[in-house]
Amino acid sequence: MFRDAALVAGKDLRIEWRSHVTTNQVAPFAVLVLILFAFALDPDRDVLQRATAGLFWIAILFSAVLAVQRAFALEAADGNRDALRLSGLSPAGIFLGKAGAIALELAALEVLLGIGVAVLYNTTWSGWLLLITTSVVATIGLAAAGSLYGVLAAGLRVRETLLPLLFLPVVAPVLLGATRAFEAALDQSPADGWSWVTLLTTFAVIYVAFGVLAFGSLLEES
């Protein structure tokens, strides 16, 4: 399973490396979201700084929709889904590989947006342990949920419009938990944030476990 996951993740990352979709489209989109929020809220710098955590994670969420759509558009093209089904790769391995590649792309975006927030919103990052832990578990949860709903929507003609409708409500707990945990870290009161990390971890574990078990059926039915 893990060999298959590494193979699929390596393939997806190689495709992104060659196509530059993440660097040329998803990353600029995420930065653009930050800039637009800065324009909208700039007259009140205090509001902008207080909303930093939420704006950061909203930008990540929107970018995650694009990353998931891209990851499964690759498999929807020109018979690749049938080729995957014929390949003998374990469905759990495919799920972990797709989710792993999406998670790595999101992690890179988070670093970029972290710098963007510091520059645009004058945010001083603090509470690094809580920030990093929150980012890791929230990213795993987003990638796992995204991969599940991505394969569910992949076989449908309306996948581009359906995926955000399925995905965004489901990951609302991630937005809430990650935002609260980041706020706690930025307020230098990390004790308040760890309970939210527990929520995020629970979300990630549930979706990874569900994905490992259910991805094969979803791949067959999509």
Partner: protein
């Protein structure tokens, strides 16, 4: 259910497969033995593609009997099991546009458990080991994409090859390569089912021809009858035995 003979790779009895509610296969009877090359012909909509997809385990057989490589295709678990033992060349390429020819073939080969040497040998067999090896698929012509798909298929070393219009989009040289590969695969112990409208070309490499119409087999001569009508096939196989290409294609 009658026992399946040891060398019987495909055994269908009144097999029915649905596309939606439409019975694309409406009671097919078919027997294919190990090492045979069978041409499936028939008009558009006859069920050729569905037959190949059903044999590959991609389309369920909802009634009748269907055994491929010993797997019962009416059972979901067996359909999954048979997939890794067959190679399907369909109408689509099954390639990633942003990967190179080599990356694509190596990925699908590794996914099926083949080694890098085996995928490189497949690339060479299709003439893709030269300047095309490092070209991304998006920049290839339709014929070059078809060659790449065939290379990915060859690298799998499947026991059963299911080829849907394998000559489509290929130039004369490419068609000759495909014919040679089919003969070599059969000589190496694989079984090949070819669905094609190119009856002269595909018929020349087939041991026998099965005609489908309306989702059922309407003509299915026995191997013994066909043996006398296509002696060139037997000769070609003997000629191929022991050559390098046959070794590339030998079924593990």
């Amino acid at each position: 259910m009658d026992p399946v003979a040891k060398d019987q790779v495909v055994r269908l009895r009144a097999a029915v497969s649905l596309l939606g509610r439409f019975p694309a296969l409406a009671g097919v009877d078919l027997d294919v033995e190990r090492g045979e090359v069978v041409l499936v012909r028939g008009p558009n909509g006859a069920g050729k593609t569905t037959l190949l997809r059903a044999c590959a385990g991609l389309v369920p057989v909802v009634s009748g009997e269907a055994t491929v490589l010993g797997c019962d295709l009416t059972q979901a678990a067996d359909r999954t099991a048979v997939r890794r033992r067959v190679g399907l060349l369909g109408h689509t390429t099954g390639l990633y546009e942003d990967l190179t020819v080599t990356d694509n073939v190596r990925f699908w080969a590794r996914a099926c458990g083949a080694t890098r040497a085996e995928s490189d040998a497949a690339l060479a067999a299709l003439g893709l080991d030269g300047r095309l090896a490092g070209v991304v698929v998006a920049k290839l012509s339709a014929g070059q994409r078809r060659r790449t798909s065939i290379a990915a298929l060859v690298a799998r070393r499947s026991e059963l090859w299911l080829l849907d219009e394998p000559h489509a989009g290929l130039d004369q040289a490419g068609r000759d390569v495909v014919d040679r590969l089919i003969r070599s695969a059969a000589a190496a112990g694989a079984t090949v089912i070819v669905a094609s409208h190119e009856l002269d070309r595909a018929g020349a490499i087939a041991d026998r021809t099965v005609t489908l119409a309306g989702g059922t087999v309407v003509v299915q001569p026995t191997s013994s009858v066909l043996a006398s009508t296509s002696p060139h096939m037997r000769t070609d196989r003997r000629q191929n035995e022991g050559d390098g290409e046959t070794e590339v294609l030998r079924v593990p």
